[in-house]
């Protein structure tokens, strides 16, 4: 028998701390697969900020540093500049990256720091119980927009790939979705490209992963995937926003 799929070894041999059907788990799993395919499990440093992403601290089996809310790009700047041969990446949610950490992500991207940012976007604050994020859709309900997000008072969904792609320094900026197997494969290839670019000394790479939050969206896992296809992905178009040869 030829083993076609085996679970990566650089995550713990146990369930993740995420809710059933949460694509944070899947994002972590495919990132772990890429780390192993590139044989970087003994050479990487993961910077985890605050949010559901923090649960990675209990799940990964690689060198990790837990940072303050939104500050992972600043922490990763210090890590990578002082450990230039390590594969350094952050894994941040949308509240963390697009709200409190906006200055840090844009500034790190603008400096062209040679590390990778993985950005998991589920258009809500998960860990704190479902509040509005900068990425929350117009009309989407959250615990702080109980009648649905009203753009007149709370603005519109913020698109990070599009913002970052306007900067000169970033080398690879792309958005993928994890809602079906075909897109999972594309996302994995995107993460791999970003890591390879970094390892070649290329510069700043940014991969956004559209994910779900069944618990705080109030949907079953399967219904949350349908919601992604019908609602979130049209607002956050998938694709490669910047790809500079290095």
């Amino acid at each position: 028998m030829e083993q076609l799929y085996k679970r990566p070894k650089c995550i713990q041999p146990m369930q993740s701390g995420y809710c059933p059907g949460c694509l944070h788990s899947l994002a972590t799993r495919i990132t772990a697969e890429v780390v192993e395919e590139l044989e970087q499990q003994n050479n990487c440093i993961l910077v985890l900020p605050v949010g559901c992403s923090t649960m990675g601290l209990l799940y990964w089996k690689i060198d990790m540093v837990g940072s303050a809310h939104g500050r992972a790009p600043a922490v990763a700047t210090g890590v990578k500049r002082c450990s230039k041969n390590s594969l350094v990446f952050t894994y941040q949610g949308d509240g963390d990256l697009a709200a409190i950490g906006l200055a840090e992500i844009l500034s790190a991207a603008n400096r062209g720091e040679n590390y990778t940012v993985l950005f998991a976007n589920n258009s809500i604050y998960g860990m704190t119980g479902g509040q509005m994020a900068p990425t929350t859709l117009e009309g989407q309900k959250s615990t702080t927009t109980q009648k649905g997000r009203d753009p007149l008072t709370t603005g519109y969904p913020m698109r990070m790939c599009e913002l970052i792609a306007t900067l000169d320094a970033p080398k690879y900026v792309a958005r993928f979705s994890l809602h079906d197997p075909a897109n999972v494969r594309k996302a994995k290839a995107g993460i791999k490209k970003a890591f390879e670019t970094q390892l070649a000394g290329g510069g700043f790479t940014f991969v956004e992963l559209m994910i779900n939050c069944p618990t705080n969206w109030g949907l079953t896992p399967l219904d949350s995937l349908t919601y992604m296809v019908e609602n979130t992905i049209p607002v956050f178009p998938l694709g490669v926003y910047k790809d500079v040869e290095v």
Binding site: C10, I45, K61, M64, G66, V75, T77, G78, V79, R81
Partner: protein
Amino acid sequence: MGKILMKGCEAIAEAAVLGGCRFYAGYPITPQNELPEYMSVRLPEVGGDFVQGESEVASINMVYGAATVGTRAMTSSSSPGIALKSEGISYLSGANLPALIVNVSRGGPGLGTIQPAQSDYLQATKAMGHGGFRMIVFAPYSLQEAVDLTYNAFDYAERDRNPVLILIDGALGSIKELVELPPMKELPTEQAKWQLGNPTGEKRVARMLTSIYPEAGLETLNRTKGEMAVAWGENDVMVEEFLLDDAEYVVVAYGIAARVAKEAITGLREKGVKIGMIRPITLFPFPKGSFRKLDYGKVKAFIDIEMTVPAQMRDDIALEVLDRAPIYEYGRSGGVLLDDDGVLEAIEKVLEGEA
């Protein structure tokens, strides 16, 4: 190497580099801009790295990142900027990470003034951030002392795996004095067991640095840090006891205030007044022993002189003196500097019983 003339901020920057600093991140704020400016030129010369962060918050977190891989990292700022860094400093302590923080303080509260003041004593010694952690606080009063303390600051930080603070005011940061610089420090070549990164690529258990803990782990950390602070009080106190042997009047002052007070005390001694000074060099741990060994049958009064109003060190003095002698205070603040005449007059008032 002979003595050279250097500006306070630059002398501290050079001493940090000689003491092993290889990473600096900071954000412009007066009156300490000469420090990052110096670092931006100097660090690349020694294979280090300088980053001008997008904010104080980002800068302290860059230092946090650099510290995780074992690089001697520092930041500097001035009062409101240090307040912005306070969360990151708490994270450093919580994650057991060494780092050097320099506060070239100015008048406060709020935006305050860019002129010098000593208004950050309470912040530095009691609550540099949330969560009740403590740190060693050095308060030099001359540039040579600033150089010597900075040079060794990383050794304390790494011994304790805890940030260390150097607190000077804008005046000391801006003056020029002759300093003798020490030689470049030899750095440890072996990676410590806690440091992240795997330069040799060996197979080993993954390492994690974070300030989030399960309840029992956090309580253990807090106990350990508490015991560490007690040990500082036993081993690491630095103080200058100036003309205390027969003193009837004891001035307590640190940093720039101690410089001014020393002039006044020297003058009064020439007139036969039995006056001396306790000058804390470590503000935390506070030099309690210097107060405990005084002969309270002889001491008539204490005069707490600080370049801030109201005095902030007074509570620490009172805890040691108790009611055994009155404590008077004199200070200027808001960027108004202490001067010789004002300090002398304030001391003379106490001598004459008019205070």
